[in-house]
Amino acid sequence: MNRTSKNKLERREFLARAGKAGLSIAAAGTISYLLYDTTVPRNKVSKSVSLPDFSVEPIKGQAISVIKGSNRVESVNKAIKLIGGIERFVRPGETVVIKPNIAFASPSALGATSSPKLIAEIVRLCYEGKAKRVYVTDNPINDPASCFRLSGIGEAASGAGAKIILPKEKYFSNTTLMGGKLIDNWPVFFEPLAKADKLIGVAVVKDHHRSKASMTMKNWYGLLGGRRNIFHQDINTIIAELAILMKPTLVVLDGTEVMKSNGPTGGSITDLKRENTMIVSCDMVAADSYGCGLLGLKPKDLPYLGKAEKAGAGTTDYHRLKPIFDTAG
């Protein structure tokens, strides 16, 4: 190899190297330019969703029914039938979300959670109304999987053909209640609601030391995410705000066995008393106003009822809705 060709080679090598170096510098410069940001970083605000309105057109005289009977399945059937039947609430092809109370990992007999038989029956009714899909969901206080298992609701609901949605972090989205005080950019369990055309809340009448009574309005607490326990400082406002935020198709308030003491966890069957009452209502304020009577309370004993009524979420004077009373079984 002679000297010139060697030089040539060296030059070529140098040029190639210089080219690569140039490209690298250009790349570094471009990336820096694209990412250059002079604004001071701010805390991220997650985007907010608004919850759909699931309610149906009100029909006078068919807003609330109260059934006496020991058999939940028969009671709920009759109660729904009396206010227009399932066809009124579930249209063919719709997706229904049922939100029972599954807050605690305790056996169904202890009455701290909704009755699995009742949930299964409501699922069945939804399919009878030709629903396309029925979801059963809750964001429990105790371990979610254990709650669904121990309460028997997981098995009963899936046995009836419903799909269970357990809470996952990514299923929560922030929402804000316009004119509200507490629900301000707060995470709610939105994933199931986003899928739904109709929403049915199913609650148990339970003693609750802080708010005096846990019923259909308090039941929506189970859709809140985040560190929701801080709302206990202002329990009446949060319950009322939930009642304003949520616009369910229907609420079912199960007073067949009422937790009279040690609520809302119970823990002993002696905490329960049979009241054999099933309330189905389009107006949850009215349902709770009737339901609190099963705990020996009057609507005015529960400040959240007054607050919700004031905000237009419903009426505490349930007589005005002309409830349909009947017995079943």
Binding site: S70, N71, P107, S108, A109, L110, S115, S146, R149, L150, S151, G152, E257, I269, T270, L272, K273, R274, E275, N276, G329
Partner: protein
């Protein structure tokens, strides 16, 4: 000796295959093991579930201290009997309770303050469920009694009061026919009812009997072994006055239509096995059997098993069965 001495292909393969066999066996063993489990071992079983089915099972003691009526006072302590000691109190009648889910008997005597000769004894039988309580109530109901309205299932005789209330069967027997005694008893029974809200037996099936010809308050509930047949459980019977005949009809609601059909077929088989003779019938939903000279009809519609028991005349029996069948079809 060496096992795998050289690469004699055959020998190494045999040994290899044997070892593979062992591995497969272990795999199978694990698969068998995994299917053998009991969720309750993890505490994850809904153990109290059984109780919830019959939630009137909730055991609350009757409070007797506060129970009294005007002019009455409690005599002695309450006495409690369980299934072991029930015979001591009511020897002859014990079996009917013990067969029907008896749990506990609590008794208490009350006496009229002014006249200590007049006393009454209250028997509260905890039967475990409203169904059981109604069964012992209805089966022991005497004839020629005065039915009390307004306190559920209750009737009076000249010196006693009987009622089925939730899971409780209550007997109240007075020492004489004195009027104030009966009044006091009524008052105490009312207080028991006011103190305790309970679920009464479901009356759906009973209502199906209703007819002008039904002998009032003749409905009885048999829990098991009805008409001597083991499989016939939870059967309501009612008596009808048709012409001069008194005929017994029965009804039983089953878990499913399929089960109803099975019970129907089994009971029919039972009648034939015991020398009953089939009488041809057109309706496929029922069978008519001549049973030692009386007519037995049994049929099934939907979830119900229905029939007629020991009828004298076939025509009357068929008429009654037809009426029940029609009503069930509604």
């Amino acid at each position: 000796m060496s096992i795998i001495q050289s690469r004699v292909k055959g020998f190494e393969s045999v040994a290899s295959l044997c070892l593979l066999g062992v591995i497969v066996l272990i795999g199978v063993g694990v698969l068998v093991k995994q299917s053998d489990y009991e969720m309750s071992q993890f505490g994850m079983d809904t153990i109290v579930e059984v109780l919830s089915e019959n939630n009137s099972n909730i055991k609350e003691k009757m409070v007797f201290d506060s129970l009294s009526a005007t002019g009455f006072e409690n005599l002695l302590e309450t006495e409690v009997y369980d299934s072991q000691t029930l015979y001591e109190k009511i020897n002859g009648k014990a079996p009917i309770y013990l067969e029907s889910g008896f749990r506990e008997l609590v008794t208490q005597r009350f006496v009229i303050k002014k006249d200590q000769k007049l006393w009454a004894e209250l028997f509260v039988y905890d039967m475990g469920s409203a169904k059981n309580a109604y069964s012992v109530y209805s089966r022991q109901k005497r004839t020629d009694v005065k039915i009390l309205s307004g306190i559920g299932f209750a009737y009076e005789s000249v010196n006693a009061l009987f009622c089925a209330y939730g899971q409780y069967y209550i007997e109240f027997i007075g020492s004489s026919e004195a009027k104030e005694l009966l009044e006091g008893m009524r008052e105490i029974v009312q207080k028991i009812r006011a103190n305790k809200a309970v679920a009464d037996v479901e009356t759906g099936v009973m209502k199906l009997f209703s007819s002008e010809r039904l002998i009032p308050d003749s409905i009885k509930l048999y829990l098991n072994n009805t008409f001597g047949f083991e499989g016939l459980t939870d059967v309501f019977t009612g008596q009808y006055q048709i012409g001069n005949d008194i005929v017994t009809a029965f009804l039983s609601k089953r878990i499913s239509a399929e089960e109803a059909r099975k019970v129907f077929q089994k009971y029919h088989g039972f009648l034939l096995d015991n020398s009953g003779v089939d009488i041809p019938v057109t309706d496929p939903k029922m069978k008519i059997v001549d049973f030692y000279g009386t007519i037995e009809i049994v049929g099934a519609t939907g979830r119900y098993v229905f029939g007629v028991h020991e009828a004298e005349s076939r025509q009357v029996a068929e008429e009654l069965a037809g009426m029940l069948s029609e009503r069930l079809n509604e």
